[in-house]
Amino acid sequence: MGSTLIEKIIEKNTGLSKVTPGQIVTVNVDRVMIHDIFIPFVADKFEEMGFTKLWDPDKVVLIYDHLVPTSAVEDVRHFKIGDAFADKYGLTHVHRRDGICHQLMTEAGYAKPGNIVFGTDSHTTTYGCVGCFSSGIGYTEMASILGTGEMWIRVPETIKVVINGTLPANVTAKDVILRLIGDLRADGATYKALEITGSAVDAMSVASRMTISNMAIEAGAKCCLFRPDEKTCEYSEVNLEDVDWLYGDEDASYCRVMTYQAEELVPVCACPSQVDNIHPVSELVGTEIDQVFIGSCTNGRLEDLARAAKILEGKTVACRTIVTPASRKIYIEAVKAGYMETLAKAGAIITQPGCGLCCGRSGGILCDGEKVLATNNRNFLGRMGTSKVGIYLGSPATAATSAIYGKITIPE
């Protein structure tokens, strides 16, 4: 019997000829990511555990993003602790102002096809976009990896998702993953791997695949993998022949197969306050919104800004519209492509790259009774202000179009 994509990665990593779901194995970790919120806790636990050196400083990446820019005096403490930890243990991959961790991990080449990567953030599933097995863990477990380079995992079952055909022009990867989460429900992929294939996926950019793998955690998934192709190789700077083993075998065992025809998909939103509360935008048309947020590790990439700029070109926003690019690199590219000028002229508020509003610490917090249409990954109660804020999640196209009217609107 063949292997699924996740099984192949685990087999290659462990040297086991065949692994099966439910089996508990110890893997060698290729890279880890720690962000600013959790570095103080990781540092504490690491020393409390009695470790005196990192298993491999080159494999550790420290990224400041949730607290950049600082919005409170205590925020700075995280940087000081992170800097001291980096200095003490010889950690050189430190990004203090470059953007969101999940964007940087693949953008800067830390997470490559076939790697096993863990991060202290649930959206670590993102790196599956390049065929990397990546998953979020807590800081205690991160501390133990920093000392040992190892982690135990239970081999997950795999759900295969096949999307064939061509997506309608106003349907994006965001609509695809929201629909999928709606169908799976918020716990439908718990402890499982997702493997996404089909001609619609083949046609997607790596950035779009990233949107999908990023949000897989919202269905509970341990990871969400795409088979690397030429686009992946160009993005990750690897050779196709080195990664051509990264696919699920025809005769592999999948616990579930879900099949979609791309032409039948429509723009959707997740309605307050669960990510699996999915409704077609057509059912929500006219819902008044106070704010639009375009950004985050889900949808703050160049193609997202390009789409928003195209829609907002020559228009003026009718509600406050906050744009937060996912990384410094993306910001600069968007400036060069003229997107920032278009967005600024349309009245958008363009902020420094970072987690921004998505992590609810600054960047456009709302108050009781307000509604926001956002392109990020979570609409949990209280995520962007009080528990009486209504958060709708949608694509950059839906968000930008809705910004023009101050109401939820179907994108052209």
Binding site: D121, G138, E141, S144, T190, L381, R383
Partner: protein, 163 residues
């Protein structure tokens, strides 16, 4: 076999990590500083009402969302004895084990129990309520090893020969 009894707080499905501890409070210096905000988006008064030894009973997908380990830590800091839910999100599950917070899976007790009821747990065997028992499953060995060591920190301390 260990047995304990506690007063029950009932929560629903999909209790996410932002409900357990909102991001706003994550940069507070310690879990002790944070614990008063536990569950605040859903029930602002709950953290002050929970007493040592109480039990949380919830629906499916408890702890979904972020990897923030403060979520299980806060529940532990509130001195909740255990959480009983229909299912758990995976990062939360791992974090709980690593911090020695006991999680029990059961999908029947939710239908019969109300907030304020008293529930008895027979470790690794069953829940007892209103004269009836509800079976529960023991955890796999590798997880029991971590719990028996007193959490992952202790397990690593043992490995590194400092305890």
């Amino acid at each position: 076999m260990e047995q304990f009894t506690g007063k029950v707080w009932v929560l629903g499905d999909d209790i996410d990590t932002d409900i357990i501890i909102p991001t706003e409070y994550l940069a507070l210096p310690t879990v002790e500083d944070m614990k008063q905000y536990g569950f605040s988006p859903l029930r602002p008064e709950l953290a002050s009402q929970i007493q040592e030894g109480d039990i949380i009973v919830a629906g499916k997908n408890f702890g979904c969302g972020s990897s923030r380990e403060q979520a299980p830590e806060i529940i532990k800091a509130l001195k909740v004895k255990c959480v009983i839910a229909k299912s758990y999100a995976r990062i939360f599950f791992r974090n709980s084990i690593n911090n020695g917070l006991l999680l029990i899976e059961n999908s029947d007790i939710q239908d019969v129990i109300k907030e304020g009821d008293s529930l008895t747990v027979n470790m690794g065997e069953s829940l007892e309520f209103d004269g009836k028992t509800y079976p529960i499953h023991p955890l796999p060995d590798n997880l029991m090893d971590i719990i028996n060591a007193g959490g992952l920190v202790k397990a690593m301390q043992k490995r590194n020969g400092i305890i």
